[in-house]
Each structure stands twice: as C-alpha cells, then as structure tokens.
C-alpha cells in the first residue's frame, strides 16, 4: 500500500494581527479567517488583504481542530474551515456546525454536526427534480425520492479558517431539506442561485475514527432528520419471520387437530333440585403415553347452576386428582328483549394423565331452587389438543414484531416532530402546503 502524499501547506501571517496562518486550500481558497483576530482576509491577494475585521461576539471551539487530517472514502482530507450556522424556529435558535474538508486532488467535502448527529456532505453536480408524489412535495435525485422535511432561513454566526467562497457573517439563505434516510438533500437558495448538496448520515464514532480524534464523540440527542431508523429494517424482517412461525404453528395445529381424540367414557345422568349424591363411574382404561384427559359436561341447566367436584382415581396406585367445575345458565326476557348468560356446557383438560385403569368419583350438586331436574352427559376423551395453547403461542409470537413496529412508528413520529410538518407517523407535507419555486 502506497502512503498518501502529505498535503501541502502555505505559511502566511495575518496582516491585521500578525498571527501565523496556514493556507491549505491554495487556489481554491477565496477567504481566510484568522484564528487569532477573526479578520476575514482575501486569499486571492498575495499580501492577504484584510477584507473585514469582525468583532465576532461569538467564539465557537470546533470539535475537530483546523488542520486535523483524516481519511474519508480511502482518501486523506484535512479540516481547513469551520463555521457555525443557525436557524430560528418559534423565536428559538438552533445552531449546527460545519467543517470544510479539503483534498487537493478530490476537492471539498463538508462534515456537519448537530446535537451529536453528523452528516458527510458533498455538493450535487446537477439539478434535482422537484415534483409531487402522491400529493406530496418531493425532490428526485439519483433515482431516489426525497420528502421535504423543513424550510428555514439560515444565517452564519461564526467562521474560522479557509473557504472557497466569500465569507460574510450573518449572511442569510433559504434552506430546504429533503430526506430519504440515511440521506439528506439540501437546497440553499439566495436571490441569485440555488446550491444543492447531498448528505449521508454518519455516526460520531465514525467521525472520531476517521480523524483519529481523542476521547469519545458527544452522544447524539433526539432523532435527526435523516437518521436511519434502527427499527425500520428489523421490522420487515421480523414480520417475515412471524409469517414463517405462523405457518409452522398452523402445521402443528393441523397435525394435532386432525385426528379425532379417543373416546374413553360417556355417561348420561339426571340430577334433581337440591340433590347432592356422589357416585363413581365404571372403571375405564386410559391408554398410550402420558397425556391430557378432557372431561366435558353438557347439561340442560336453565336459570340455575350445577356444581360438580371430580376425583379421577387410579385403581392401581390409589392416587386421585381432584378438581371441580360449575356450569350455570340464566336466560329471560326483559323489555321485550331476550337475554342469556353463562353456559350449559364446560370442558377441562386434566393434565398429564399416565396410562392405567381409572374410575371417577363424581359429586354433582344442583341448586336447591332449580325449577326442574337437570340432565347432563359426562364425556372423557384422551389426548385432546389445547386451542388455548395455540392461541397463546400465536399472541406471544406477535409480541416482538408488534413491539418493533410500535418503536419504528414512534421513531418516525419523533423524527417528523422536528419538521415543519409535525404529525403522526411522519405525515410529509402536501404539495399544496408548500409553494413550488422554479429554482
């Protein structure tokens, strides 16, 4: 690998204060701002004529010192200029910083920073096309569509170093930002011209590594206009995986629900009001592996209740599994309208019943005020699938993609809250919200 040649420097001194000045941009540089007295000097003049002496009320310390060298896209670049610019929104100023990077063979790049969010910006050689897409104002460039995010008037608050243009403090330009994260397309317009630039969102860590800066970059605050959503890519992938899992769940359900569960026992009985006569069923065999046993009660109870306590007794071991169920059903007519509530039937899964011979001790009880006897059928089935488990699995599978989708929506809402068009889920501007210009 061949080392890049060192970037040449021209050493001068400020004619206003005598401080040393290093000029790195050579013929590209039009103005130099003295780091000592902040005078703006004419770099095209061999004697560095003083254009303006500013009493800049503001002094901003660049996070990347002028003269710092780094590598961008495999090429060496040097920070030769720095400026702070700001916009006013609702009487509040929001300032960002711009670093001018120079490579004598590749030209200029810009690195911008706002609240710890960085963009690597290059000037666009061409004219993006402004158009309306689905009623929204957009700009198209490089086959990509950018949505209008913000229109503002920016002014320059502080300058330092070299610039390939004539520096004027408090210059005001109209800035229109269009976004397609992680890119940001900006149009800066004066009365005479419009300059387009394209920014790529980069992290502070990337900047620190590229320029070999010490320490840690300032942490990013909030969501920046073209900051890529950490959830957007994950969202689509998770929903695709969810679809795969649902297919697997359906396949499992088909395997489980297709066969008819084996009937173990069925008994029909009648119960008189107020009766509570326990009885035992005939002995029955439970076969196969350890599995669930479903107990179902179907009754004709009406405007009453029936309570049944069960004991499933293993004849060989003398072990009993006790459980109880209640069915109640009430109905009537009120205000000319029929109503009913409760259920005449119930079913329950007795868990993990091993094979063996069993009988059930059944103790039914009917409400003493029941108007008539109740008939009921008791049915036992082996290895009945649980629809509840399948439904619960479906809901639990749904949690991660729904959570990520919610987070993605919240991220976009936060992004667009900072725009001119704050609204839920980033409702970009309608074309008729913005007047088109011909620039």
């Amino acid at each position: 690998m061949v080392a890049a040649p060192p970037l040449p420097v021209r050493a001068l001194s400020c004619p206003h204060c005598g401080a040393a000045i290093e000029q790195r941009g050579f013929d590209h540089t039009r103005n130099v701002v003295c780091a000592s007295c902040l005078s703006v000097l004419d770099a095209t003049d061999p004697g560095l004529r003083v254009l303006r002496t500013f009493a800049q009320g503001l002094r901003v310390q660049p996070l990347i010192p002028l003269g710092t060298r780094g590598r961008v896209g495999g090429a060496p670049y040097e920070v030769i200029g720095f400026q702070q610019r700001s916009i006013a929104v609702d009487d509040e100023r929001y300032a960002w910083r711009e670093y001018l990077l120079f490579n004598p063979y590749r030209g200029f790049l810009y690195l911008t920073e706002y609240d710890g969010h960085w963009n690597l910006v290059r000037t666009v050689r061409g004219l993006p096309e402004r158009r309306q897409e689905r009623g929204r104002l957009t700009a198209r460039w490089g086959g990509e569509s950018y949505r209008l995010f913000q229109t503002s008037e920016a002014s320059t608050d502080f300058v330092l170093g070299e610039f390939p243009w004539e520096v004027r403090l408090n210059d005001r330009v109209e800035v229109r930002d269009f976004i397609a994260p992680p890119r940001l397309l900006s149009a800066e317009s004066t009365e005479d011209e419009t300059t387009w630039s394209l920014g790529d969102y980069v992290t502070g860590a990337w900047v620190w590594e590229a320029f070999g800066l010490p320490g840690q970059p300032p942490s990013a605050t909030g969501v920046f206009a073209n900051q890529p959503s950490p959830y957007a890519a994950a969202r689509a992938g998770l929903w695709r995986l969810f679809a795969v899992f649902v297919l697997a769940l359906l396949a499992m359900a088909a395997v489980r629900f297709a066969p008819t569960p084996a009937l173990v026992l069925r008994e029909s009985r009648q119960l008189a009001p107020g009766a509570a006569e326990p009885y035992v069923t005939e002995s029955f065999a439970v076969e196969g592996r350890r599995a669930a046993l479903e107990v179902e009660i179907r009754s004709d109870v009406s405007n009453s209740w029936m309570f049944v306590s069960f004991a499933l007794v293993n004849e060989a071991t003398g072990r009993a599994v006790d459980f109880a169920r209640e069915v109640s059903y009430y109905e009537g007519v009120e205000g000319g309208e029929r109503w009913h509530e409760g259920s005449r039937d119930d079913r329950v899964r007795v868990p993990s019943v091993p094979a063996g011979r069993y009988y059930m001790r059944v103790a039914p009880e009917l409400a003493p005020d029941a108007a008539r006897p109740v008939s009921y059928v008791l049915t036992l089935r082996r290895d009945v699938p649980s629809g509840g488990f399948f439904f619960a699995a479906f809901l639990l599978l749904l949690v991660p993609p729904v959570w990520v989708t919610t987070r993605a929506s919240a991220f976009e809402s936060t992004r667009w809250m900072e725009s001119d068009f704050a609204g839920p889920t980033g409702s970009a501007p309608r074309a008729d919200d913005e007047e088109e210009d011909d620039s």
Binding site: F245, W305, R319, F323, A324, R349, A363, P400
Partner: protein, 61 residues
C-alpha cells in the same frame, strides 16, 4: 441481531408448545390425593373432596 433473537425466541416458543401438547400440560388447578381407599367405589359419599359446592348466583341482567 434482533432477527436471530426472534428466531431463537419463536423456535423456543414452538418447541415449548410441542412439549406441552405432547405431555398434555394444562392450566387446570388440581389437587392430588394419595391412597384413596378402595371402599370409595362402594361408598362414594365417604370420599372427602377438597372442592365443596358452589351455588353462587351468576345470572340476571
């Protein structure tokens, strides 16, 4: 990374479902009684069930 975590999570969930179905797990609250005397067959009323009758009125609008 999120995708891998979801693949692990979803696979574990389906595996758990398969085991629950195979072993016949249930959310039913039961209690177990040991050494039920054989005489229960002849005298079911002698068995003491831990569950005693309900009889709550649940009906009406």
């Amino acid at each position: 990374m999120r995708h891998l975590a979801y693949v692990v999570y979803g696979s574990a969930l389906l595996a758990l479902l398969a085991v629950a179905e195979y072993r016949g797990w249930s959310l039913l609250r039961t209690s177990e009684t040991r050494n039920v005397p054989r005489s229960v067959r002849d005298n079911p009323g002698a068995y003491r069930s831990p569950y005693v009758g309900g009889g709550r009125y649940l009906g009406g609008k």
